[in-house]
Amino acid sequence: MSFKAVSREVGGVTVIDMDGRITLGEGSDLLRDLISEKLGAGQKKIVMNLAGITYIDSTGLGELVAGYRHVKSQGGEIKLMNLNKKVSDLLQITKLYAVFDIHNDEAQAVASFQF
């Protein structure tokens, strides 16, 4: 399944619902463009809902990290939500679990931003 992303606003936070695979050539470019677009629109509080993500490779992980760095450099933050076991395992192995703020509940993820 190819990558799809749809964004919406919840209480001043941009929630991006993602589906499919984040791999080289299948989502990583789209993800980068989407984050740049959100930053360009002044949206710096971002929750990535990974509930529909079925597969991530090292390029996809690298794109999440690049997005994290990019948003952080603009004074914002990317948080992750609804990781399945495969994605969660990848973040544990690479120690990215300690980098990202990760939530299982959307209201909690949105409320975790300091306004």
Binding site: T23, L24, D57, T59, L61, K86, I93
Partner: protein, 147 residues
């Protein structure tokens, strides 16, 4: 018991589509060899990462260069070789992305995932000078030689 492993060889062009294709072949070989779904995913991801490395860094996206994948089915394990036609690299030169200074960096996660998901992992220099990733997954039960 056969003295030599059953061998399956696949040669791919250096195309981005070859990455997913190789992953699918890896999953299929693993399934037919009797690995469970979790191991099939891990073997598929390891092949995906090795071929992606060959595509990007080894063959530098030059279509005419080849990526060779060799699956060797031994009774106790599946051994996979992924060879490119680049300049090769030393595993010792790959940064550990788990280190504090590298965790937000761009390098090393592919090798880390292959190492984590397979039981054996090494990078050799092929006869032609390219990189040869060699990795193996042990099977909990004897692998069928009739794949």
């Amino acid at each position: 018991m056969p003295s030599k492993p059953q061998r399956i060889e696949v040669v791919l062009e250096t195309l981005i589509e070859s990455i997913t294709l190789a992953e699918e072949v890896g999953v299929r070989v693993a399934a037919t060899a009797g690995f469970d779904e979790d191991d099939q995913y891990k073997i598929g991801l390891a092949v995906h990462e090795a071929v992606m490395n060959a595509f990007q860094y080894g063959n530098r996206q030059q279509r005419e260069r080849k990526i060779k994948i060799l699956f060797e089915l031994f009774p106790e394990k599946l051994v996979i070789h992924v060879t490119d036609q680049g300049a090769g690299f030393q595993l010792a030169d790959v940064p550990d992305p788990r280190e504090d200074e590298n965790v937000l960096g761009d390098s090393g996660r592919g090798c880390l995932l292959m190492k984590a998901f397979m039981d054996e992992f090494d990078v050799l220099v092929s006869e032609a000078g390219g990189a040869e990733v060699v990795m193996a997954k042990r099977s909990r039960r004897p692998i069928s030689q009739g794949v």
